[in-house]
Symmetry: C2
Subunit: 346 residues, 2 copies
Amino acid sequence: MTRKKPATLSDIAATIGVAPMTVSRVVNKSGYVSEEMRERVLQAVAEMNYRPNGLARSLKRQRTETVGLVLGDISNPYSTEIANAVREGLSAGGFNLFICISEHSAKEDIAAFDSLVDHNVDGIIVATRSNKEGDERLAGIADRYIPVVVVGRDFHHDQVDSIAADNFSGGYEATQHLIDLGHKRIAFIGASFNDRANLKRLQGYLAALTKHDIPIDERLITGKKETASESPGYSTEKIGYEGMKRLLSLPNRPTAVFARNDFTAVGAMTAVKEAGLAIPRDIAVVGFDDTPLALHTLPPLTTVRQPMRLQGQLAAELLLRRIKNREIETENRVLECELIVRQSTV
Amino acid sequence: MTRKKPATLSDIAATIGVAPMTVSRVVNKSGYVSEEMRERVLQAVAEMNYRPNGLARSLKRQRTETVGLVLGDISNPYSTEIANAVREGLSAGGFNLFICISEHSAKEDIAAFDSLVDHNVDGIIVATRSNKEGDERLAGIADRYIPVVVVGRDFHHDQVDSIAADNFSGGYEATQHLIDLGHKRIAFIGASFNDRANLKRLQGYLAALTKHDIPIDERLITGKKETASESPGYSTEKIGYEGMKRLLSLPNRPTAVFARNDFTAVGAMTAVKEAGLAIPRDIAVVGFDDTPLALHTLPPLTTVRQPMRLQGQLAAELLLRRIKNREIETENRVLECELIVRQSTV
DNA sequence: CTGTTAGCGCTTTCAA
DNA sequence: TTGAAAGCGCTAACAG
């Protein structure tokens, strides 16, 4: 079986006896070509199953009409919503989207950045957790005037736009809500001991407690050390379940819990029900993200909605803007979260 | 602010007064270069912040060391597991992965295929639903000897490998399980009226009923017409919830339901509990996929596990094999599913 | 309306 | 151990 190499522009030109440029003009619908000529070319193109070589075209044009999106964790509703919104925003602008996943590893982050840069994407949107090496590489990329937008966290660089939800005040409001309902012993489930400082939701929780003179009880803050080797995923029902188990075994158990996200909250709810306790009567539960799941738990879950699609849309928008003109002011947007009260707390 | 263009190989060569070829050899660690020369080059490379232009390199080398993965729906545990497994398999082989999402639209499928082909990826893995135009384009791509592997369904082409779970027998076993438990009125939730024939899980359900001489009752098969415009997503709790509501309002309601996937099952369970009925006493529920969620529902969900990671691993493996050598026999693998019995049925 | 020239940035091949 | 030439496939710019 002989595998013939794909036809090139010159192959087409040669077979119908014209200059490559003429074929190029037809293929790109640019410049003047006689109707008769165009027909001849198009026929040859069809017959020889010709497709332009994008590599060569991009090399010449110095742009690829493609942008890259780096996701830290693909199995996460947050990531997928962002990705969908980004894709829509970009395809409206005529750009393709290539997604890379890095599994929250600095090495993979860097590999993803590099492979996108190597393919000369016109810009990069980054939705990974912060880590030193990755951030340094990213700064280096931005230094070379490759448009970069970071979403889901802040990033300080005079060429990088950023968009994030206000996780701090989201956490604050969730906790405030529980306090307003009269709760004093409020637990937090899903802390990551590695970077508590980066977990804005936890910070908001702590701030709300402090504000209301409720002492912070470390035993009510559960979480686990995330080892780099194990994939954290978003499927943290387990963390929620186990965290809640531990909390329930406390001599003086909490009357309310704030979970770092809806999946964690669902796991926690399961543990509560298994223990024969009622939600919210015995224990009130608040989640975060307002995933579709939250509407269909029993009882429906009180949660904090963050504007995921909007973050993706803005990311696409800011990136396209920066691709068009690099000499613009950097924007760092922080978007409001909204507390959605359902029956898991009231 | 003057934006200097990135340094090229020749720029480096010029500044230290050698031939571009010498720099190339150092950068690629290929061929002989004196230790002294290599130092000089590496220093210049570092100083000028040089990175090879992947476009030019790939154009010359005729390979990109990159493969594309097209996902029909990113917000789906199935897709994300596949993606992770594919990525691992590829990076072990030194390949990068670019993911495109098509939102289950034929137009987007084609756009994704084309953009990958335009970037001269070395191969493509496809995990989308079947549709006529998309499949035709894909066949055209395979005709050009671009390695293609289809996962999650079968695809008939003498150059395309495929890997799929045995959804039919998975559906059959799930239904059989309910029959074995003595159920006669067994419903199916989540049929898609557009292509019932393609929904192997439904076919398995029908076959099991027929085999046991249980008449098929169309009122027990719920589903909805999926319009192309609305994103189906995987978040089908709603479909499950609404489907179950309808089933519960039937004069002679079912005693068991088989849901097309775990999310649908969760929605159905919520409806059952809301109606004040008990699972499995009044209604038994079976899901499909064994997502992490299934362990944490109340009661834990009986479901059919399909080997997602394995599908991804095999896809990567078969693709790399075909990239190395196109002249091999096509493989079409079908992988076993496994019924996981939990408390939602017994 | 069509053709020619030159070159994008790199690497293969051959020569020194 | 290094260099020169040629070309991957395409298109911008200018001629005719």
